[in-house]
């Protein structure tokens, strides 16, 4: 079983991203579970979501304490502090940030970091509302946990055609971003 934790701020589409990623895993023929860390929804408050992927049925319902992968949608110090709780030495971090890898490495106390360049994404994607799916597509381009077509299929399943189109444009950009 692979356990993934998503961290960010309310309004960034963390819960939606979790749903899309789990749906993509399902389209790959695997079992998947996505669940938000339940809270009273507020824009700007810390948000977490959990995703599990496995070849067999997933029965476990607890939160994820020691994730294999952590995706961080905001490099706010508060989020970085929360996100690293329970990380294993092998846990990989994917951080949406314009900070350097060295700086993030210091803050997150690990070298297993993929920086998703905020500058680069924001230069190419004008609609801030689709950044979350661009981050996901970068994540799967590096981890190979799902194909881009599964992510796009999950997006089409979730959104109306207009919103899906702008998300799919974003995933193309995220998927092609170079590793940093």
């Amino acid at each position: 079983m692979i356990e993934i934790r998503l961290h960010g701020l309310g309004g960034q589409g963390i819960v939606t991203a979790a749903e899309i990623l789990a749906t993509a895993f399902f389209y790959e023929g695997n079992f998947a579970q996505a669940v938000p860390l339940f809270g009273v929804e507020r824009r700007g408050a810390p948000v977490e979501a959990f995703i599990r992927e496995d070849k067999k049925i997933i029965r476990l319902r607890s939160q994820i304490y020691n994730p294999d992968k952590i995706i961080i949608f905001s490099d706010h110090q508060l989020i970085l502090d929360i996100a690293q709780i329970g990380a294993k030495p092998t846990t990989e971090f994917f951080v949406y940030s314009d900070k350097s890898k060295e700086e993030l490495s210091q803050k997150l106390k690990t070298k297993n970091i993929f920086v998703i360049s905020k500058n680069e994404l924001e230069k190419n994607i004008k609609n801030v509302r689709v950044i979350n799916t661009a981050i996901l597509s970068y994540f799967i381009s590096q981890t190979k946990l799902a194909s881009l077509s599964s992510i796009n299929k999950a997006i089409k399943n979730k959104f109306s055609s207009e919103i899906a189109t702008s998300n799919i444009e974003a995933t193309k950009i995220g998927f092609q971003m170079t590793k940093k």
């Binding site: 979790a18 476990l60 607890s62």
Partner: protein, 374 residues
């Protein structure tokens, strides 16, 4: 066909396929997504039901009560304080023998206010005269609603289908939504013999004096006990049509366990996962799907071989013990029963929590109630 959906949307889609004539609800966390989805189905022209927006849960359940009294199928859903606010009508519905089906997205009760999952809301209504089912996962939550309408309409008894708030209402996981075609095979149109009709005036829920009241309560009591037979029959019919098994109680584990953990709802999944992980050969788990009726004989048989019984409750009868513990204690004699109260107000139940339950149960010299923090 297997798809992947949020639990609330899966249940809402199932209800749409069951096609009640009237839905009335008031939104409350964590039930909200269920009724939002149903309202959207109606707004998008995907459903024919009347959707009545109300100013409170009391109005919602009363509208559903009235609708079913006129001889149509109806639906509502709520949680926690909303369920408490419905309480007067909830008891009435059972006494009037109206086959209402409602979902309770289980949540803690105030005060202190808390929006997270436990089962105190539903368990508080175990004496109301409703049949009560608890789902382990999203699939079961959907399937139990289909079963609920069949049993309710056949027996003129209301059914509350419980799914753990957030844990099941907000999870996205694979599910096979019961399709309209199969539902029609399983569930005939609702055609009651007695219903309110201006052309044939009659009174439902009339005044009953001391000479008959006791007998009417006894009849309701007996019908709930006897409902086990119909539920088992309909579970079999359900399996024949949908290909999925439903049980009132189900045991998972070794043949002659020393210890059995008894629980209800989504925590069963975590317990099963924990026992697999421990590669345990002496501990099993008994899942209670039907709290009302409680399948005493089946439970006695399944618990028979164990020395120790651990009962995991997400509720408590304050001043005594976990509510399920009392329920099981009534059926079982000569066994050490330890009542564990855990997961209240959303406290996470982890694999380590299950490990603690096993350890504390096997160590315990006498029966007691343990509040599990971890």
């Amino acid at each position: 066909m297997k798809t992947i959906l949020e639990g609330s949307r899966a249940v809402a889609t199932t209800i749409k396929n069951i096609a009640p004539a009237v839905i009335s609800a008031y939104p409350i966390t964590p039930q909200t997504h269920i009724v939002e989805n149903l309202a959207k189905f109606k707004a998008d022209g995907l459903a024919d039901f009347e959707y009545v927006i109300t100013e409170s849960e009391f109005a919602a359940i009363s509208i559903v009560q009235g609708a079913v009294a006129t001889g149509v199928r109806a639906y509502t859903a709520t949680s926690s304080q909303g369920l408490l606010m419905m309480s007067e009508a909830i008891f009435n519905i059972a006494g009037m023998r109206l086959p209402v089906v409602m979902t309770c997205a289980n949540r803690a009760i105030s005060a202190p206010i808390n929006i997270y999952n436990d089962q105190q809301d539903a368990l508080t209504f175990r004496d109301a005269g409703w049949l009560m089912f608890f789902a382990e996962d999203v699939q079961e939550a959907c399937d139990l609603h289909v079963l609920a309408y069949k049993v309710a309409e056949k027996l003129s008894l209301p059914v509350m289908v419980n799914m753990d708030g957030f844990i099941l209402t907000h999870v996205v996981e694979p599910v096979d939504i019961p399709e309209t075609k199969n539902i029609k095979k399983f569930l005939p149109p609702y055609q009651p013999e007695i219903y309110l009709d201006p052309k044939n005036p009659l009174t439902l829920g009339a005044y009953v004096g001391p000479q008959d009241y006791l007998e009417m309560r006894q009849a309701l009591h007996q019908d709930i006990i006897d409902s086990e037979k119909t539920i088992l029959e309909e579970m079999k019919n359900f399996q024949n049509i949908f290909g999925r098994k439903l049980s009132m109680v189900e045991y998972f584990g070794p043949k002659n366990p020393e210890t059995i953990i008894v629980a209800m709802g989504s925590v069963i999944g975590t317990i099963r996962e924990a026992l697999d992980e421990f590669k345990n050969k002496t501990v099993g788990v008994l899942k209670i799907t039907a709290l009302r009726p409680l399948a005493d004989k089946q439970i006695i048989k399944l618990l028979n071989s164990a020395k120790n019984i651990a009962i995991l409750d997400k509720s408590i009868s304050l001043g005594t013990e976990g509510i399920l513990a009392t329920e099981i204690r009534r059926t079982i004699k000569d066994k050490k029963i330890i009542s564990f109260v855990a997961g209240l107000g959303g406290r996470d139940i982890k694999i380590e929590t299950i490990k603690n339950i096993i350890k504390l149960t096997e160590e315990a010299k006498e029966e007691k109630t343990i509040f599990l923090r971890e």
